[in-house]
């Protein structure tokens, strides 16, 4: 148990080398991979998320912690080959067509992964068709879209409309975010939810998933 606590601590300091070494050690000591994931890596990222939300830490700290989380996850991945990394749900994320900003969206991806979701990050400049095709292929419950430009925001509505045309509304939920995006805009275009920051996005996706079950 102390080992997991150490992983959690070093992850928060963004020390990927220590997290790698400790994860290896934990595996040697026959600690269950699922425990290392939940009580070490994910628990550490949860604290990072809370601190970020409280403005106690900032983007660089989150990015460094995420690096440490990925370092640990890379070691665990091969051990979950049969069942895959345990996940509480699958989310497709991307910046909408025409938008090349991706720091905010990547941060949402990090926080979702850190909360135990499987995340498929389509990158930036993603077309409406691509969002929906991927969500169908991957059987994802939620699509998360980001826009940083007021000019690319209307693309979000096209995704909502296309989902409706295909009769998938309700089965695949849509959450949107980004600097110019608001709760009102989400309602106006018929998106299921708005996430005002990366931590709130995780809370909202969790809520959307529990509703769809």
């Amino acid at each position: 148990m102390d080992l997991l606590k150490e992983i959690l601590e070093h992850l928060q300091h963004g020390d990927d080398e220590k997290v790698t070494a400790l994860t290896k050690k934990a595996l040697e000591e026959k600690i269950q991979p699922k425990d290392i994931l939940d009580k070490g890596l994910i628990a550490g990222m949860n604290i990072i998320g809370e601190k970020y939300k409280a403005h106690e830490i900032f983007l660089p700290d989150v990015l460094l912690a995420a690096k440490a989380m990925y370092a640990g996850m890379d070691l665990l991945k091969p051990l979950f080959i049969q069942e895959g990394i345990p996940t509480i749900g699958k989310v497709i994320i991307g910046s909408v067509h025409g938008d090349l900003h991706d720091i905010g969206k990547n941060l949402v991806g990090i926080m979702l992964k850190g909360a135990g979701f499987e995340v498929i990050n389509l990158g930036n400049n993603v077309t409406p068709e691509k969002f929906i095709e991927t969500a169908q292929q991957e059987n994802a419950a939620v699509i998360g879209m980001s826009a940083l430009l007021t000019t690319t925001m209307p693309v979000m509505k096209r995704v909502v409309d296309l989902l409706k045309e295909k009769g998938l509304s309700g089965r695949i939920k849509i959450i949107i975010g980004g600097a110019p995006v608001s709760e009102e805009f989400a309602q106006e275009i018929g998106a299921d939810a708005y996430g005002y920051d990366s931590v709130n996005a995780v809370e909202t996706v969790t809520r959307l998933m529990s509703k769809s079950r």
Partner: protein, 299 residues
């Protein structure tokens, strides 16, 4: 042109121009288009925007080169055209303003995250700024404006590149802050005290803030900058956070509102007042009239 820094020292107040991005959109820039692509294809639009701001009374006009560092342009595979893009932007503004206004070279973030939290080497960011700044300075700009920075390390690299390429050219450096319960911070976690000290140490001549969350927050930011630094200050506020009304973007702060609030910036001792996202030539006109009335300046 008369020495800007000397004039600032004598207490002169200058009005800079307003937004570029939202003006380009009004002139036909489409979603997903690279704003700097107009420098190659339609420099006459840059001339038009410069002349609108000049007519409104702006004495400092920016170039359309915010994203014209080769690192940023490489996102769109346009880095090979760095020199052409930067040169055309300066020439377009000079053609319009002649010696009637200072030309300020806009120089925005590289769009990369530095090591260790990102994957980009500081040397690569430095040489990217250096390449952009060389062309801007050789094309005849009067001022360098390193703006919208959130990472103090990146801002420092840009300032150092500017001062290395041309030591006498005045450098303005601005960062963008968000209000948090613990005060103003950039997304990278830099507060105003750190920004003021860091930008000055790096060699900036004029420091301050741009973009942000509207003029009222900018007043608070300016007060804090004034407490932490004795350098001349620049404030370029956006017209509030955009709201969407029937699929179009509206910036809530009117020219009258902004000019009324900006009186406080003058009282605080801000030397250069301009606009960012959502501000228009009308905002600049209102700011000019406010300053003229306040200090009895004749144009």
């Amino acid at each position: 042109m008369k020495d800007l820094l000397k004039r600032l020292k004598n207490g002169e107040i200058f009005i800079a121009d307003g937004a570029m991005g939202t003006m380009l959109m009004a002139c036909g820039l489409k979603p997903g288009d690279v704003p700097e692509s107009f420098n190659l294809t339609q420099p006459e639009i840059l001339e038009k925007i410069a002349s609108l701001y000049l007519d409104a009374g702006a004495e400092i006009i920016q170039t359309n080169t915010f994203g014209a560092s080769p690192l940023k342009l490489s996102f769109y595979s346009l880095d090979g055209k760095t020199e052409e893009i930067n040169r055309n932007a300066v020439l377009a503004v000079r053609k319009v303003v002649g010696e009637r206004a200072y030309i300020s070279a806009s120089c925005g973030p590289s769009g990369r995250l530095l090591k260790p939290y990102g994957d980009t080497e500081p040397e690569d960011v430095y040489s990217s700024f250096e390449r952009q700044l060389k062309t801007l300075i050789h094309s005849g700009v009067d001022i360098i404006c390193i703006e919208t920075m959130t990472d103090l390390t990146e801002a420092t690299l840009a300032i150092k590149a500017a001062k290395t390429v041309s030591p006498p050219t005045p450098v303005m450096a601005t960062m963008t802050f968000d209000p948090t319960p613990r005060g103003f911070y950039t997304v990278m976690g830099i507060n105003i005290e750190q920004a003021a000290k860091g930008l000055e140490t790096a060699g900036a001549d004029i420091i301050g803030s741009n973009c942000g969350n509207g003029i009222e927050n900018m007043i608070k930011i300016a007060i804090e900058f004034r407490q932490k630094s004795r350098l001349p200050l620049i404030i370029q506020s956006n017209a509030g956070l955009p709201v969407i009304k029937r699929n179009t973007t509206v910036y809530p702060e009117t020219p009258e509102f902004m000019a009324e609030k900006a009186k406080e910036l003058v009282s605080i001792g801000v030397s250069i007042i301009g606009g960012c996202c959502g501000t228009t030539p009308e905002h600049i006109r209102a700011l000019c009239e406010m300053v003229d009335r306040r200090i009895g300046k004749n144009r």
